[in-house]
């Protein structure tokens, strides 16, 4: 039953889920879900550029995602348009430019569906090395940046006043996101990367009593979703990327059921906004 390709998919998928868990927490704490989408969509432009200039695929996706996030920072400083409008423009522009460029390159045939939805069953041993090597690097950086990142998530001015550097933490965070998207593209695909970032983290919220526990739980829940999704896709012969996301969604729905723990937290999740002003 366990073919080699399936074992490789499992190892790569679990490695990726563990890596994105803590990042996903920051994405939802900072309300940056749409930002993750934008970076992921811009990955297609990275694909097109890599074909055009014969660059390493992952490197060119990373460069484009990083460039898009820096562009966003610049446009935000000008302050003419709101962040979500800017993200909408960047996201779909990058995606469309990528598609148009691909159409011009008549000499290449690319599997667009493969990039949009990923192909985890095609990961090689080199891909596994990359996922785990990159993953360890990303997690080490997150641990190192944890305090400034968390403090500036709560309040950047407070963090800055008390000697941390929120701007720098934010920049590093964006670069880490770009790196993770470059690594994850092959596995879950451009359209589904953000779901792996957000859904396990949102599921973890209900059971977490501290930010650190939530980050660890998000990784664990993500790994569970990858495992469940892959076995499901094998059993029902469904596409692997979407199956993983469906499994993650299943776990999220389970977390909403009113069993165990206190209900205060649950109502907290349901409320659309909160906090003190």
């Amino acid at each position: 039953m366990f073919d080699d390709f399936f074992t490789r998919a499992l190892i790569a998928g679990i490695g990726l889920a563990i890596t994105v868990g803590p990042l996903g927490c920051f994405v939802i704490w900072r309300r940056m879900a749409y930002f993750g989408d934008t970076m992921a969509h811009s990955a297609l432009l990275g694909v097109a550029l890599s074909l055009l200039f014969d660059l390493n695929l992952m490197l060119s996706v990373f460069i484009v995602a990083a460039a898009v996030s820096l562009l966003l920072l610049l446009l935000q400083k000008r302050g003419a348009l709101s962040t979500d409008a800017l993200l909408g423009i960047l996201s779909h522009s990058a995606l469309s430019i990528g598609l148009v460029m691909v159409a011009f390159m008549t000499w290449v045939r690319i599997d667009l569906v493969g990039f949009l939805f990923g192909d985890i069953l095609a990961v090689s041993e080199a891909d596994i090395d990359l996922v785990w090597g990159g993953g360890i690097l990303v997690l080490a950086a997150i641990v190192y940046l944890w305090r400034p990142l968390l403090a500036s998530t709560v309040n950047p001015e407070l963090a800055e006043a008390e000697g941390l550097q929120p701007e720098r933490a934010r920049l590093y965070f964006m670069l880490l996101m770009a790196l993770v998207i470059a690594i994850a593209m092959k596995i879950v695909g451009i359209l589904l990367i953000t779901s792996l970032l957000i859904i396990p983290a949102a599921t973890a919220r209900r059971f977490a009593t501290s930010p650190e526990i939530m980050a660890v739980l998000a990784s664990a829940i993500g790994a569970l979703a990858v495992t469940g999704g892959l076995f499901g896709s094998l059993h029902f012969d469904t596409p692997s990327g979407p199956s993983i996301v469906v499994a993650a969604m299943g776990l999220f729905v389970l977390s909403l059921l009113p069993f165990g723990r206190n209900r205060q937290v649950e109502t907290a999740i349901h409320s659309t906004h909160g906090g003190h002003h």
């Binding site: 403090a151 709560v154 008390e162 941390l164 977490a208 907290a268 409320s271 003190h276």
Partner: protein
Amino acid sequence: MLNFHKSDQAPLVSLNNAGIRRNDRWLVRGVEFSISRGEIVTLIGPNGSGKSTTAKAAIGVLKPDEGWVEKLPGLKVGYVPQKLAIDWTLPLTVERLMTLTGPLKGREVEEALHSTGIAHLARAEVQHLSGGEFQRALLARAIARKPDLLVLDEPVQGVDFSGEIALYDLIKTIRNRTGCGILLISHDLHVVMAETDTVICLNGHVCCRGTPQMVSQSPEYLKLFGSRAAKSLAVYSHDHDHTHLPDGRVLHTDGSIT
């Protein structure tokens, strides 16, 4: 009391003709003051007069577009911002909030929570606190790290009247015990802590300054807020066993009011 601080010490922070400009408009301009160890400076002024902006310039969050700000090297700041919204998705207990910007010993956290009267809430999630409890938690967080300079932007907002007196008392105690400098922004134009050494009245610029008594009688203050306001510029004083309330009544330490 007015000369509590030793003026021969170098100030913790000083603003020299500082101005902050946004979108072709000066939010505040020509601000000059300094805070020394053990000194309490209170900023008052109407909405939009540049109080928070001035405080942010003092702690280096905003860079002045004109003039300059000098800070003692290695200055440790404790900051209570005016607005702080913590997203519901972030699980954060009061205890965890304490070590947000730096590590602390368990004993230091306990002390800070105890002195602000919220030791029983250590394990509560911050999103479940009332406005007053949340302000105490923020104050506890700022003092727990034993700062040289405490910057409090409307620290008693949302706190009821007796809680307000208790918090002002606590701020005074912190100053006396640790000798830190305090920059306080009052949410109420007419209320200033009695221990304040210098009141600075802002309205886009420094419109007047001095001891609380001096400011309440200065012509600029009268012009800005009217003579009724001046009559009611209340001073919280704490003379050992009783407190003078703004309306002239006296609050005794046992809680009775005469």
